[in-house]
Amino acid sequence: MQPTNDQRLWMYRQMVTSRHLEERIEALYMEGKTPVFNMAKGPIPGEMHLSNGQEPCAVGVCAHLDAEDVVVATHRPHHIAVAKGVDLNAMVAEIFGKASGLSGGRGGHMHIFDADVNFSCSGIIGESLGPAAGAALSRKMQGKPGVAVAFLGEGAANQGAFHEALNLAAVWKLPVVFVIEDNAWGISVAKQASTAVPRNDLRASAYNMPGVHVADNDVEGVFTAAGEAIARAREGEGPTLIEIETSRLAGHFMGDGEDYRPEGEKEGLQQRDPIPRYRQMLIEAGLLDEAADTELVGEARERVEAAIRFAQQSDFLPPEAALETVFV
């Protein structure tokens, strides 16, 4: 399964949009946090987990999804939200904690919920799998179209929730795909120090489902693997586990000094940044030239800038609005 030229350009555009969003959030996040780093300061307080480098996982999967399909993402959700079509203005406003945010500032960057495109995420490791399996069960029971995708990091494959949910999805043959973004690090602990298998897709055999590995953060490799898995799910053939070898070009969170990385690793990853690589590939394929790229990047950036302006110009809810929406 190969992407069409339109799909290639769509994936590139989403990656560029997501990366620019992260770069702008990074700059805005640091406002007020220097010279002494204080997480509570600045226009975007709290933890911030940026997705730089992991864009291929998001776009290669979401290229196969419509708004009706369900995605449950992780504590590092922005790239997936962009690719799933979450309302960018409302999402950025939520990251700023504003009234016009997706939930009026009650959630923040780890709790992005956009029911219009069936997107949600959780700040707890391994907790995307159960709800995704349940959404898939819901579609199966209702006979409604749509599949569910759970994103998780490679560290989450060592959680009990991972093993419980894979077994449940397989025994009930649910239309769900589990996508592991393997960025090789669980905060500061390397995958090989925490995980008994070299690749988590190998664990699929324990749950009688296909396991697929995508090497080298390859956009089109993700597209192919996800396309086949999602097609299987749509046809009622059950779940698939995919592990994607990706890269975390930012720290675990903003403020992470990354002293735990071997010398030179970060520079090596940056040289393999998936976005310039994909740009080069599209240029060589004749789908893009310098002028078209400049235009595409400019449009993506302007979309992000407009969302940031929207967020900055929005008000906060009155503090006592914190008491609302505990129950409906």
Partner: protein, 344 residues
């Protein structure tokens, strides 16, 4: 939908287990989005009888036996509830919450808030509570206060079959997550000991009992006994014993912890001036302290005596019957608490 009280229920008596199953069956007939999943809820009918008959009527698609994977299936219920279904999931013993609490309190209870009210999570988590039959300290707890403490989930604790059916129907129809905590000794399962007072007249037609409304189980003038679940029956026995001494006790059955009907408790204590809270859950940081605080911070002057509580000591639940029975609340302890209150 009608609201009924135990006094206009006709003559048919049900156990709480049967009442829960009947409410569930009626809602499943009316609403195809309602389904049940949990361990042994299928052909077995639930370890505590509360899904009996459902599998035969609705089949394995809507009455699903799950793997022993509470994190996965409660998490799945959150996902299904957010996608248009109304799952009823069973956590067989509330003591097992330790293996799946994240799905309960970090997702089930918070997703609505995190979404600014845009994502509804209409699910019922039903779970058994309580001891008294020497099942040891991992199969005997109540943990009412633990769940009620955490925002975002309603919590109901019925004391009889009439309320259990009405609360179950209300819980299934509620657009919020509801934790339905039933006490094993009230289920009408002979092997767990059976509290006869829980098996009461229960209408056959569908009805709701409003979540968040306490009931006055016995009207009195001299002291207010507040409890929930099995404790209500201890209070009624204590009230009877006190009545033989000429003391007229009022018994308030909370029925719901979230929302908590503080008004009914305050009105009763305003009348009697005396408050004893009876709770099989642990003594400290729980329901009993919350009830007393709710009265004290509202109107300290209404109290003629310092409030008392008869609650489970702050110890893991022991196995030996001598020790467990010694630790549990009972009517004698409530009567003693009243005497101590009056002697001060």
């Amino acid at each position: 939908m009608t609201n009924t009280t135990a006094t206009d229920s006709g003559s048919r008596k049900l156990t709480i287990a049967r009442a829960m199953a009947e409410a569930t069956a009626q809602e499943m007939r009316a609403d195809p989005s309602v389904f049940v999943m949990g361990e042994d809820v299928g052909p077995l009918g639930g370890v505590f009888g509360n899904t009996r008959g459902l599998y035969d009527e609705f089949g394995g698609e809507r009455v699903r036996d799950t793997p022993i994977s509470e994190t996965a299936f409660i998490g799945a219920a959150v996902g299904a509830a957010s996608d248009g279904m109304r799952p009823i999931v069973e956590l067989m013993f509330v003591d097992f919450f330790g293996v799946c609490m994240d799905a309960i309190y970090n997702m089930m209870a918070k997703n609505t808030y995190f979404s600014g009210g845009k994502v509804k999570v209409p699910m019922v988590l039903m779970t058994s509570t309580g001891g008294g039959y020497s099942d040891g300290g991992q199969h005997s707890q109540c943990l009412y206060g633990t769940f009620a403490h955490l925002p975002g989930m309603k919590v109901v604790v019925p004391s009889n079959a009439h309320d259990a059916k009405g609360l179950m129907t209300a819980a299934i129809r509620d657009d919020n997550p509801v934790v339905f905590m039933y006490h094993k000794s009230l289920q009408g399962m002979g092997w767990l000991g059976t509290e006869k007072g829980a098996t009461v007249a229960t209408p056959e037609q569908s009805y709701t009992v409003e979540i968040g409304k306490a009931a006055v189980a016995k009207i009195g003038q001299d002291v207010t006994l507040v409890s929930l679940g099995a404790g209500v029956h201890h209070c009624l026995r204590a009230a009877k014993a006190l009545g033989e001494e000429g003391v007229d006790a009022e018994v308030v059955d909370l029925r719901s912890l979230v929302p908590l009907d503080r008004e009914t408790v305050r009105a009763s204590v305003a009348k009697t001036g005396r408050l004893i809270v009876v709770d099989e859950d642990y003594h400290s940081f729980g329901v009993s302290g919350e009830i007393i605080a709710s009265v004290a911070e509202h109107d300290l002057a209404c109290l003629k005596a310092a409030p008392r509580r008869v609650a489970y000591p702050d110890i893991p639940i022991p196995f030996a019957p001598t020790m467990e029975q010694w630790a549990l609340p009972n009517a004698d302890k409530i009567v003693d608490a009243f005497h101590q209150m009056m002697s001060q």
